[in-house]
Symmetry: D2
Amino acid sequence: MTSSTRPARIGIGMIGYAFMGAAHSQAWRTAHRVFDVPLEPDMVALCGRDRDKTEAAAGKLGWRVAESQWRRVIDRDDVDVIDICTPGDTHAEIAIAALEAGKHVLCEKPLANSVEEAVAMTEAADRAQAAGVRSMVAFNYRRVPALALARKLVADGRLGTIRHVRAQYLQDWILDPEFPLVWRLDREKAGSGALGDIGAHIIDLAQFLTGSRITGVSGLTETFITERPLVGSASGERGTVTVDDAALFHARFDSGAIGSFEATRLAGGRKNSMRIELNGSLGSLAFDFESMNELSFHDHTDDPATAGFRRILVTEPTHPYLSAWWPPGHALGYEHSFTHEVYDFLTAIAGGHDPEPSFADGLQVQRVLAAVETSAAANSVWTAIGEPR
Amino acid sequence: MTSSTRPARIGIGMIGYAFMGAAHSQAWRTAHRVFDVPLEPDMVALCGRDRDKTEAAAGKLGWRVAESQWRRVIDRDDVDVIDICTPGDTHAEIAIAALEAGKHVLCEKPLANSVEEAVAMTEAADRAQAAGVRSMVAFNYRRVPALALARKLVADGRLGTIRHVRAQYLQDWILDPEFPLVWRLDREKAGSGALGDIGAHIIDLAQFLTGSRITGVSGLTETFITERPLVGSASGERGTVTVDDAALFHARFDSGAIGSFEATRLAGGRKNSMRIELNGSLGSLAFDFESMNELSFHDHTDDPATAGFRRILVTEPTHPYLSAWWPPGHALGYEHSFTHEVYDFLTAIAGGHDPEPSFADGLQVQRVLAAVETSAAANSVWTAIGEPR
Amino acid sequence: MTSSTRPARIGIGMIGYAFMGAAHSQAWRTAHRVFDVPLEPDMVALCGRDRDKTEAAAGKLGWRVAESQWRRVIDRDDVDVIDICTPGDTHAEIAIAALEAGKHVLCEKPLANSVEEAVAMTEAADRAQAAGVRSMVAFNYRRVPALALARKLVADGRLGTIRHVRAQYLQDWILDPEFPLVWRLDREKAGSGALGDIGAHIIDLAQFLTGSRITGVSGLTETFITERPLVGSASGERGTVTVDDAALFHARFDSGAIGSFEATRLAGGRKNSMRIELNGSLGSLAFDFESMNELSFHDHTDDPATAGFRRILVTEPTHPYLSAWWPPGHALGYEHSFTHEVYDFLTAIAGGHDPEPSFADGLQVQRVLAAVETSAAANSVWTAIGEPR
Amino acid sequence: MTSSTRPARIGIGMIGYAFMGAAHSQAWRTAHRVFDVPLEPDMVALCGRDRDKTEAAAGKLGWRVAESQWRRVIDRDDVDVIDICTPGDTHAEIAIAALEAGKHVLCEKPLANSVEEAVAMTEAADRAQAAGVRSMVAFNYRRVPALALARKLVADGRLGTIRHVRAQYLQDWILDPEFPLVWRLDREKAGSGALGDIGAHIIDLAQFLTGSRITGVSGLTETFITERPLVGSASGERGTVTVDDAALFHARFDSGAIGSFEATRLAGGRKNSMRIELNGSLGSLAFDFESMNELSFHDHTDDPATAGFRRILVTEPTHPYLSAWWPPGHALGYEHSFTHEVYDFLTAIAGGHDPEPSFADGLQVQRVLAAVETSAAANSVWTAIGEPR
């Protein structure tokens, strides 16, 4: 490949290097090796608060420079994109600063810890957009090929009118009462518990897949284990869990569909079971992330004698993102959703169009999260979600 | 086999001969052929309103006599048991009359169409019980071996403290808008729609399996297709559907568990998918009636390296009811739950103890059904369910 | 139903009352209660060697008379059908005597313990057929609705040209080396081991489903546990297992397909896993008896974007035998295959046509079984199976 | 991370850049980013026959230099490892030259196109090994975590004595008769068809998982579609397929186990279904690559009341390779097996021990492949496989 055909470079700065930082780094390293991207990521700077750990992470994950001040990453001329992988309480400040500095922003979900922050971020994104600056919230599951295919089937009308949405996000990593009080169990840092962490994913997905908006909810939250050991406490001291262990809610969509949602981290044996099922007048879909390369599809127009849920192995070259990967039947994994996200983000930046999901999409999710908590605090009474701006 | 070892006879009269009548008849014909029952059913009389159809059904299903007046069946000296398989609006009158006449009563579910009727029936059952007359409500799914095993595992403590109940009863038989306005879509006859017909099953099961009582609910109901062709109308005349197509509710149990319930007849592709999942501190269980001979069990105390949901094929001789049937791996079907029900009922009558589920259990289900409708009519606000008597 | 419309009676005599006897009895009691049969079975006589046990079984299973001499059952004027449920070494003598006495014969599988016996039985059936006497070998799995549907899909051309047959019958009931030396482990009584007992089923099914004949095989057999405790031996005495624990063979069909077959009773954890998969030029089918109400079907002509194995729940009224049973999604069990068998047998007798599978079909299976043993004894060399008469 | 702790570099040269080349490149780019490797791969040179395509591929896949002569890659001082991703007919020449030049060799499977070549390669590997030069054959499926866990369970004795191996590798990519005559359908290039391409995988896996050696086979091969369009022929000219479409064989292992193997590319609907099942005296295992993150395990010592095949989601940190990746329930994909392979290979090189599978392991697979073809050509007669050197 001669240099003339080499895509232009784009400089990336990433804030945060834990679980999400590792997943995003894999994506930044890989997207242009697999897809035909218009911009080749240059992994300039990784930022974390602990200098030694950040340097080690930068070397390991493939970033050229380690920084400990996120503002210095934003200030760098060789950085064009800020990728925010920090806890939710820092998203607004970093994202708004980056956008105001003219940097494209990819921000982890949930967009923020409150509707107010999300509104401010969305307004900043709108202002930046006028100057050609792009922003995107990282609901990566939209880029799982089976779910991208699901969206396509719905958009193509294969489900007809959707009546039912049934979404569950089940994990079990805090089942042990001795699991410590990490930041995700602290309302100050995380905003909420299972609701915002994993419930946000199924809210976004349900709206994405159906192409419709949640207009009201009735919620219920519960914290089963109210005290846990403090992180690193040698004396076994305990602190109070300030977020939900589980959140359930019912929803109505502007399309007329009704939905049942559940997010919990105490579903023993379910490791990362994000299940979503849609029932329409013409077809039904079912998905479980524990079998992430499969989509179940029932076509109600099939002859009843041979109708049945089809286990579509979403590894065909005609399936979303798959033509760039391996032959049929050769599975992709969790991390590929991030590679696809980066690919789509780069394509949008280069193409001068806005990527999805937008900060406005993230704000809508935030509004649903807030309404669930409002309803749960008010005897589950129905709580409307206002029209977006 | 000499007559001395032959079990004593017990005379059965059945009211109704449609779907449930056929299923119960198969049970009355079969129980003593497979199980060692203390009383051998004598299928005396079948009762239906249409004389010709009832006579045909009696001949077909194995009943000696056809009757068109249910009171005449109750009056027969050779009838000891009244089996009620009619629509819900007739349950109370028949059951109370039978109990007052000293006949044991097996009554289809839901027990009644209202809490008031169910209370009257339960009071009648209590009075009759003093005279050694037994009554039972026919929540047959308790007798599916996989669910009986599930109850045993919970009772044995294998799940520890149960936190989550996740129950869905999904069917699709009224998906077609041209499906007619049958009695099950008429509030007068059926009491409610999916809620009472199939939701009642998962309410009873959830309480049975967990061994705890639902204390409050938040509900939502929906009728997607509000008008349907009248039955037998040549002119294509339509009438109004007066029951729910779908009902969703959240519940709290007196044990501290929380639950999510859904009943619908518009889940295209789901034929009879009664799914229930329980997550406890020590174990989890999952069941789907579409694979009725299987129970999924996760033992959280297993070594994580080899832990996983076990697909228990519930066909071992040590499993409930199975020692009377076929070798391991040879499946039972839907109808067997009725045969087991009859076996347990006959055993209770002969043994002089009360069978389960009792009319009081049926009344508790009725209270939950009523509370769901109350909540749904009041913006889903949390609705408490009073203590049983 | 008036007596004039009542079907004519047909007298049944059954030889043997163990596992198969119980299953057949359930069928004889049930077929006319569910299906519209032209002949109503009269369960006249049950025959067994032990008088007391036979009398008890007759009373329990619903037979009017207990006999200890099978010839006396054949001799009865009120017996029209002989149902043979005894071990394989007695089939030929009983069946031939019954046919010569003008009785219709339903004979358990495998038809006999040797090709010679099977030839004699088939010749007797041919002679009897000229006089309107019917015979049938009880490969009941042909009547599992999912497999009857599979046959229909193949016959309708939905699979195109079939290339692959993949059949396994896996059980584990003799996994324990202390399991005793029952008659099924004795070559004198059983003819062979897993090969004849369960291998016979998949041979018949493979030929039935594909509509083609096996023309040659290469076989391998193995007995892993060569000595077992004698039945009822208090002193722990052991005897030699004289049959195979497992039999594997490859086959070619006259259609050009190739097949892989395996039968074993030592596949720990597999209780009754009779699996068969067909791959054709236009479609594929897969079945596992452990999920007996399901058929997997892949239509290669589907759009690749939504193609996938369909899990057909074979409980629709349009599926074979189902219109007589329960609503969609309400499963049937193992025993229903026998009820369907009896229904088809009675229909054939009344209709004056030959039921399937015929004794000739049973003989063809016997020839395959013999060829597998011949090949296994000769270094697995390819062994042809001659043309049928 | 300071440069002092940075692992030493190791130069890699890769021959071939098609499907396998892309997969290996992803592994070379990723291993040191995820695992703690003792040597950091420097992706020096990519070699292909077509200069332009090779240059494009090198740029895309991350190689510094493009070469068109493989000997020039071997000759480079900055190349320490030769990774062979070419068709089988070139393996021996390249591998032997590389080993003789003192380069470590990773060679795609099957090791060669004939036993003779494989012997020569193994001898070269043995000679090189004396000089500390390592060689490895790329049976990547050994590094799928679920299969590595399976091996561990067997090695830990959890299966007891293994009796049955049941292995199938089912694909369908040449189902269409118009699919062209690519090199994999040409005996000169590919050695054999499904047998060597995918059958080799299940042979290696069966021996790896059981820890025992195949001592004899009885085989059958078939070519269903004997003529196909020539690649790039505008006139629709057809050529003869010179390899098998499908290969079936039975095997005996030196442990006493028996096995059934099938490899085909005409199993419509099966995209990459590599299934393997083991039945032992204490446990059973089942795996299907179409659900590559799962392992089914049946522990026969479990209480029968709760025994069942466990669906182990092989994503726990205690599972092989998983501690380096994502949280439980977050799946890996096909390509990860190559990353694990590279990690193990680099670790072996740095640690001075021989990696597995060795060229000798590859030779043993080659012997089995040859014996299958010998048997298939001789009426399936049993064909022994000699002791390894």
